[in-house]
């Protein structure tokens, strides 16, 4: 019975071989000419001004996270907008109202807690 899964095994072996081959093959096959400039962190083509291990304000991460959260949630609006008139009707409207209301509550919470203030 396990024989049925032989193609899967072959596939797994191929995947593993490809990964290992690429990882170890490139340094072996490719030419290597190390220089100082190549060792530097890449920063949009500009010469790095300071160390890459700089500490960012935690507010940055917070804002970034909040953005991502609301951004992802907003994606749901697109498929909804396509379908709301044809299939979802009033139910879809109610559901989305609840959804948006929850987002609004979250926004309100974030706002009141001062997470949107930079300082």
């Amino acid at each position: 019975m396990l024989f049925d899964y032989l193609p899967l095994l072959v596939f797994l072996v191929m995947v593993a071989a490809l990964g290992v081959g690429l990882t170890f093959g490139i340094p072996l096959l490719g030419p290597r000419h190390p220089s100082t400039a190549k060792g530097l962190p890449y920063e949009c083509g500009i010469v790095p001004a300071e160390t890459a291990r700089r500490r960012f304000s935690v507010t940055f991460y917070l804002t970034a996270m909040l953005f991502i959260v609301f951004d992802v949630e907003a994606i749901f609006l697109y498929p909804w907008a396509v379908l709301v008139r044809s299939t979802l009707h009033i139910f879809g409207l109610v559901e989305m109202t609840i959804f948006i209301a929850l987002l609004a509550v979250a926004l309100l919470y974030v706002w009141r807690k001062g997470a949107l203030e930079w300082d």
Binding site: M1, L2, Y5, H89, I90, F91, V94, L102, V105, L108, Y109, R112, K113
Partner: protein
């Protein structure tokens, strides 16, 4: 049911029948409650008031009342949302246990948070959010809903584990829990994917049908088995069964005691609810395949948990390893697979809720600013300082060890007898042997409380009788208002432990005739 609710005419009944919403009413109440608490937290930002715990308590009570109502009405077809969610008595029983535990935790919280100096409104929001996940999980009859419940349950707990923000241990616990939890979710999801891939269904009822056909022709689909195995691994992680228990000791020890209370009891109950539903109903046709592995995991859990607990010096870690061992005992009920086994496991979960909540509640009451009550030396001589607390703690320890006249005895008794009736004598023997080992560490706690001389600095520990919870800064009326509920919870847990140890039928009759629905 529909007649109970008169809906406005514009409501799309054809899409969401009212019975669906009624069926998940406890979930809606608790979920909505967490939003309500969130708004209330914005409205009353002053720290240390009792508005949030009171609202949370009322919300949980409301959900509890609704669940009781559902139990009494016991709709003929308890499956809602096209078979994705069941509000059968099995789920409702788990809901009772989870909700009562949550209520106990909410009663304990204000005093504990005040003493530990971490009165943040988020605590109650997260608690209720996690509780929502548990309620979802107990009734889930669809793989997607199961996953939804697991994550909804877990994510707030990750945050709660790190709630003591200035304590490195707490941070470490949160990080370990998050990473390992994510790891386990991966296994869970992978298992679900395999099962879906093989059966083409996510509904448990449909999967059951597929399995039935496979079992009838004695052809066990290996991919399906692998899926079941991976799904089990994910769930075994959640119930902290060995060898997937690694997170348990560190997280139990690092988390604030009140979070550990909630986590150790409620999570276990909810996770076992879905475990039991899956194995005793949906996967029953494949029983010949999973019976032995589950039994082996049960034995490993009992042996590992009870043995390693002996070597611990931290009370919370001891209780963590004891939790691993208890998971092993409950797994006996799963492995047995018969209705007897399921009932015994449910009984043990209820028993566990009483004794473990009680034991942790004592620790939370004894915890002071800066650190939890965790070292043996902090319990030393407790009998002389606070006889009532020490006596109750001793009772909970004896119950966890399975002494007669306590609820823990009947918990073990029903499990072992179910195993014996089912012809799985080795499981019962391992259970009894490891129970004997468990006496080593349960009795050590009692020994320390009753014989050792107290630390000089711990004489100022809060008292239950006087309810002088902090003594200095807090006005006595407020201290009483946070101390009395905590005291009531501990005493009620003790009363429950003894009364149910004498009259096990009080719960067992509830369990009679519970059949597990899977959509």
């Amino acid at each position: 049911m529909t007649t109970l609710l008169s809906l406005p005419p514009w409501f799309p009944l054809h899409f969401v029948p009212a019975s669906n919403l009624v069926g998940i009413l406890p979930v809606l109440i608790v979920g909505g409650g967490s939003v309500l608490v969130l708004l209330a937290d914005l409205a009353v930002p002053r720290r240390g008031n009792l508005v949030l715990p009171v609202i949370s308590g009322v919300v949980v009570l409301g959900a509890l009342g609704t669940a009781v109502g559902q139990w009494i009405l016991n709709a003929t077809n308890p499956v809602v949302f096209n078979g994705a969610f069941a509000d059968d008595r099995f789920a409702l029983f788990a809901d009772f246990v989870v909700l009562l535990t949550a209520l106990a935790v909410i009663c304990l919280s204000p005093g504990y948070l005040r003493r530990r100096g971490m009165e943040e409104g988020e605590y109650y929001i997260l608690l209720l959010a996690s509780l929502t996940g548990m309620l979802v999980l107990s009734g889930a009859t669809n793989l997607i809903v199961i996953f939804l419940g697991v994550e909804l349950l877990s994510i707030p707990l990750y945050v709660l584990a790190g709630f003591a923000r200035d304590e490195p241990l707490s941070q470490e616990a949160a990080m370990k829990y998050l990473l390992l939890g994510g790891f386990a979710s991966g296994f869970l999801l992978y298992g679900m994917a395999l099962i879906y891939g093989e059966t083409g269904h996510t509904g448990l009822a449909a999967i059951h049908q597929q399995l039935l056909q496979g079992a009838l022709s004695h052809s066990f689909d290996p991919m399906l088995l692998a899926g079941i195995a991976l799904l089990s691994v994910g769930l075994l992680f959640k119930v902290s069964a060995a060898p997937f228990q690694w997170w348990t000791p560190d997280v139990y020890q690092g988390s604030p005691a009140i979070v550990t209370t909630f986590m150790s009891v409620a999570t276990k109950v909810a996770a076992f609810a879905v475990f039991l539903r899956l194995f005793s109903a949906t996967l029953a046709p494949y029983r010949s395949e999973w019976e032995v592995p589950i039994a082996v995991v049960a034995i490993i859990s009992m042996v590992f948990g009870n043995l390693v607990a002996v070597a611990q010096t931290s009370v919370k870690r001891v209780l963590a390893y004891s939790g691993i061992a208890q998971a092993g005992y409950i797994l006996i009920g799963v492995a047995v697979g018969s209705p007897d086994g399921t009932q015994a496991a449910l009984y043990y979960l209820a028993a566990y809720a009483f004794m473990n909540t009680g034991a942790f509640a004592v620790l939370t009451i004894l915890s002071q600013r800066g650190e939890d009550c965790d070292r043996y030396s902090q319990l030393a001589g407790l009998w002389r300082r606070q006889p009532l607390l020490a006596g109750l703690m001793a009772l909970f320890m004896l119950s966890l060890a399975g002494f007669p006249m306590t609820v823990g005895f009947f918990g073990k008794f029903f499990l072992f007898s179910a195993a014996i009736h089912d012809g799985q004598l080795p499981l019962a023997i391992w259970g009894i042997l490891t129970s004997a080992v468990s006496l080593f560490y349960y009795l050590r706690v009692i020994l320390v409380m009753f014989t050792a001389v107290p630390d000089a600095d711990s004489d100022t520990a809060p008292t239950l009788a006087g309810l002088s919870l902090e003594g200095t800064a807090v006005a006595s009326s407020t201290a009483a208002s946070v101390g009395i509920p905590a005291g009531v919870v501990v005493v009620l847990a003790g009363v429950g432990t003894v009364v149910l140890g004498i009259f096990p039928a009080l719960i067992y009759t509830l369990l009679q005739g519970i059949t597990v629905v899977h959509g």
